[in-house]
């Protein structure tokens, strides 16, 4: 099932910032009509935007930029349909909000004029589409479960509990003393009449086509990335005798390695206790890595061979070369150059980049005591911890420089593709608290936006991240201005727990409007409901399967 995550960042007219906040607040008060999580709360949104999982509206202020209004949405299906539903639900409110925003200076200006003109009735959806920002990295918890399926399976869970615990039932429970398979059969019989969808097979959460596409994207990215970074080495390898080339690599690698070794230690006062052990991480994967290298060499050679052959033909035609090489003749020399290029990447280019990065890290400034607006902090605190879930939005400035720019873009792209391939079980690795989260670049890549819809409190959410994925967090966020000191991109950084939290807190904004379609359900509970439902869909379970299934009850 296609699910979408996106945001619409709109610069706000400074003089209209208060009005915009008031409009968002008024919308929240109109829709948030009862205790959070009660059936009639946000009932209009539930009914009119049936694809929506989570949505937020926030206004971020900053000293460096004018305020920015961001609408964040996570939903099932195609964006166009969602925008139509959103407009049908909130059209007049959104139009007023857009009138508080600046007219874009680019080609979307006329569209802005059309939708914000006095008495305009032009549809808003095209403008929202045009200003949509795709995330650089995103994660979908409970991936592949539509909003309706989540709600349906939650209702089934409640019905199952009521059936099992029915206090009005005379006599002993019919489920007592039964085997797991008998309980499954009895419970299925009891549930099917009120939940007829249990009689149908569940649609796949991730279709084969989607899975294949995810893997293909990652492989393409990896090949292109390796090819791009090793291209200088490939050219040099093609021009030099291989022995001389390898000797040169070894000499440069030794010098670079020594320099890195000399600069490996953290600066005084910035070391943290633990970090990922790369050796332990990489060693078990050596066979897989060798396989990937072989595959890369073949794929890269196949990609480059026609180019080389075509170039030699062109040069021969121009009279600037010898006999043109056929693709068959060119393959092995190209493959050798690719392999030697890879060697150059590993021995020279990557160490060189690491050395450059380390130089930058050693000269970075961190923001140890960022200013937090007490009033905003109180507002944020007042809105949190009402239900099982919470929401956060943050914007940070990105450190300047070519290397940082390349790392953050390639890093985000790669991380996003890896997540699509790896995080397919509903969870983000060992973290079981993230529903929908994403990063996105703003203002021509000078700022980084982060939104997350997560379980439990903000503190415990970040603690969870720091404990289980500090390396990834540092990799993704370490490019932020003022981020705690990092080492080799993934060490330290977010492990400076308190400093990291202060930094993250200062970058947040009040989530003035926040909607969750299932505010009382945690990621874990949704997966549990799904396992129970999947079990009940099946007419029969083996004893082993039934025992595993019944543990969720």
């Amino acid at each position: 099932m296609l699910q979408s995550t996106l945001n619409v960042p709109l610069e706000v007219k400074p003089e209209s910032c208060s009005r915009l906040s008031a409009l968002i607040e008024a919308l929240r008060q109109r829709e948030d009509t009862g205790p959070f999580g009660q059936p009639d709360n946000f009932s209009r949104v539930m009914r009119d935007i049936p694809t929506l999982h989570f949505m937020s509206m926030s206004v971020f202020t900053a000293a460096e930029y004018d305020p920015i209004f961001i609408l964040e949405a996570n939903f099932d299906g195609q964006p166009g349909v969602f925008w139509g539903q959103l407009e049908a639900a909130f059209g007049p409110d959104l139009r007023e909000m857009l009138r508080c925003c600046k007219r874009p200076l680019d080609e979307d200006g006329p569209l802005y004029d059309a939708v914000t003109a006095s008495d305009s009735r032009a549809p808003l959806a095209p403008y929202l589409e045009a200003r949509t920002q795709r995330p650089s990295v995103f994660h979908h918890g409970n991936r592949g479960l539509t909003r309706d399926r989540i709600l349906q399976e939650a209702a089934l869970f409640v019905a199952v509990r009521e059936e099992l615990d029915d206090p009005g039932r005379p006599g002993p429970s019919p489920y007592r003393g039964r085997s797991a398979t008998e309980v499954h059969a009895l419970l299925r019989k009891a549930m099917v009449p009120a939940h007829p969808w249990l009689g149908m097979s569940a649609p796949p959460r991730i279709s084969r086509g989607e899975r294949l596409l995810d893997i293909l994207r990652l492989v393409t990215f990896a090949v292109l990335l390796l090819l791009a970074f090793s291209l200088p080495a490939i050219v040099v390898a093609a021009l030099m005798p291989w022995k001389a080339y390898v000797l040169l690599l070894l000499l440069v690698a030794t010098a670079t390695g020594l320099l890195i070794y000399a600069k490996r230690a953290p600066l005084p006062g910035t070391e943290t206790s633990a970090g990922p052990n790369l050796t332990r991480l990489i060693l078990p994967k050596v066979p897989a890595i060798l396989g990937i290298v072989a595959a890369y060499v073949v794929v890269a050679a196949l990609v480059l061979t026609p180019l080389v052959s075509a170039t030699s033909h062109l040069l021969a035609w121009l009279g600037a070369g010898n006999l043109p090489a056929t693709p068959g003749d060119a393959f092995w020399p190209v493959a050798r150059a690719v392999l030697l290029g890879l060697l150059g990447l590993l021995l020279v280019i990557l160490p060189g980049l690491v050395l450059w990065l380390r130089y930058l890290e050693r000269h970075d400034s961190s923001h140890d005591a960022p200013h937090v607006d007490e009033r905003l902090l109180r507002e944020m605190v007042r809105r949190e911890d009402w239900v099982a879930q919470n929401h956060m939005g943050s914007i940070v400035l990105i450190k300047p420089g070519v290397l940082r720019s390349i790392i953050i873009r390639a890093g985000h792209l790669g991380l996003g593709l890896v997540l699509r391939v790896v995080a397919t079980d509903g969870y983000l690795g060992t973290m079981r608290t993230v529903h929908f989260a994403h990063w996105a670049f703003l203002n021509n890549g000078s700022r980084l936006l982060f939104f997350s819809n997560f379980d439990h409190s903000w503190d415990s959410y970040l603690d969870d991240f720091i404990e289980k994925a500090a390396g990834g967090l540092t990799l993704a966020w370490g490019c932020g201005v003022g981020f705690p000191p990092t080492r080799f991109l993934i060490y330290d950084g977010a492990r400076h727990g308190r400093r990291f939290k202060n930094w993250a807190l200062a970058s947040r904004a009040v989530s003035r409007f926040w909607y969750s379609a299932y505010p009382t359900l945690t990621v874990d509970q949704i997966e549990r409901n799904n396992r129970i439902a999947d079990g009940l869909r099946r007419p029969e379970l083996s004893e082993v399967e039934a025992r595993a299934w019944i543990s969720d009850l």
Partner: protein, 411 residues
């Protein structure tokens, strides 16, 4: 023969090559729109444009400050020059007219109207001998229910459904070159006005009405001193309501049933809803069926000033003042940019995905009556367990122009 005595609500279809081309054109329109939505969303030539995408259809319908309805000249012929809000811009007169009609055509009438519709359909079916033309059924029920609701009696000679349908065709689906139709209208319209005038006079002279029909309410408002309810105004309003409303039913009801008959699962769902008297569910099913073959392909609007449709997008198109814009609402309801999986029969669609009865200032005044009554008209038929197409060609819906002509079912 006088047009007043005609027994055929729909005039004979054009024959020969002209008729064949016309039929083929109408049949091909959904495919033409599908291509247009992708490659040329706002096609046109000279001073004619068509809008095919959901966004643009809503823009043109919704922007009545830039696009007016072209109904006034034909309305003048029908009403004898009396103003009616269907042809007006958003003026105080327009608002007064709509408000006045809302005072006498009330939301709380809908349950009784829907019940009367269902009873009328049941009654006709019980005497049909297990076989009926659904177009005829819908027409009879429409005029049996709607005309008395407004207080318009049948003429002493001729048929009200024929008169109203002819005027409907003249108002919404005619060509200025159709002299024959204009000749019939010139006979029917004055007779229709005289019929209502006579009924007003009869009621005012003490003649009994239905008790609490719309005419009674208008006259009560008049008696109470409301200056809007003059005799000509009342006559014009009732005339336009009966001309604009009931002729739609024999168009959309058989078309919806035809769509259901093409989809066994949807038909079964409709039957279940009818059996369970789940009227809301049945309404959703019928509305969805209508989406596949709505009232018409679209409606015209006239640009009252120069305007850019879809301004700021790549398909932005300028239209000059006076240009005709054909607003293809049938195409809009199939636009997958805003309507999820438009080819799928989905009864849980959002209300905004439907544009059956227009949108904006001139959205059909009788929309709620249609919503309440159309499903109830089909309900008694759907309740019959043996409902199926009649054998042969007459078991498949045929059309004459935009009008449904014949669909025979057995039950």
């Amino acid at each position: 023969m006088s047009a007043l005595l005609s027994q055929d609500p729909i005039r004979p279809a054009a024959s020969g090559l002209k008729g064949a081309i016309h039929r083929a054109f109408l049949a091909a329109l959904p495919s033409v729109f599908a291509v247009a939505r992708r490659v040329w969303p706002i096609p046109g030539l000279g001073s004619f444009r068509a809008v095919t995408r959901h966004d643009d259809v809503r823009e043109v319908f919704g922007t009545d400050t830039a696009f007016r309805v072209p109904y006034q000249p034909n309305l003048n012929v029908i009403t004898g020059g009396e103003p009616f809000f269907l042809g007006m811009d958003d003026t105080p007169e327009y608002r007064a007219g709509v408000a006045a009609m809302r005072r006498v055509v009330r939301a709380d009438d809908l349950p009784a109207l829907a019940l009367r519709t269902e009873e009328a359909a049941s009654n006709i079916l019980s005497h049909a001998g297990g076989r009926i033309d659904v177009v005829d059924l819908a027409r009879r029920v429409a005029f049996d229910v709607v005309a008395p609701y407004f207080g318009v009696p049948p003429p002493a000679q001729g048929r009200l459904d024929v008169w109203a349908t002819r005027l409907f065709e003249f108002q919404f689906a005619s060509s200025p070159k159709d002299i024959a139709l204009r000749r019939e209208v010139d006979e029917i319209a004055p007779a229709f006005r005289a019929l209502i005038d006579a009924e007003i006079a009869r009621r005012k002279s003490g003649g009994a009405g239905a008790g609490d029909d719309v005419l009674d309410r208008c006259l009560a408002q008049q008696a109470a001193g409301d200056p809007w309810y003059t005799d000509p105004q009342i006559r014009t309003s009732l005339l336009c309501m009966v001309v604009g409303g009931p002729p739609q039913w024999p168009m959309v009801v058989p078309q919806a049933l035809e769509q259901l008959l093409q989809r066994p699962e949807a038909l079964e769902a409709a039957r279940s809803a009818a059996q369970a008297s789940d009227d809301d569910r049945l309404r959703r099913i019928v509305l969805e069926a209508m989406r596949f073959d709505p009232l018409g392909p679209g409606l015209p609007r006239i640009a009252r000033r120069d305007w850019s449709i879809a301004q700021g997008t790549r398909r932005q198109t300028k239209v000059r003042q006076g240009a005709t814009v054909f607003v293809a609402f049938s195409s809009a309801m199939m636009d997958d940019r805003r309507v999820p999986e438009p080819r799928r029969f989905d009864t849980d669609r959002g209300a905004h995905e439907y544009i059956h009865f227009g949108y904006g200032l001139h959205e059909c005044f009788g929309k709620h009556i249609n919503h309440a009554c159309l499903p109830r008209l089909l309900k008694p038929l759907l309740r019959h367990p043996n409902l199926q197409r009649a054998a042969g060609k007459e078991g498949t819906l045929t059309k004459n122009g935009i009008f449904a002509e014949r669909l025979v079912v057995t039950f």
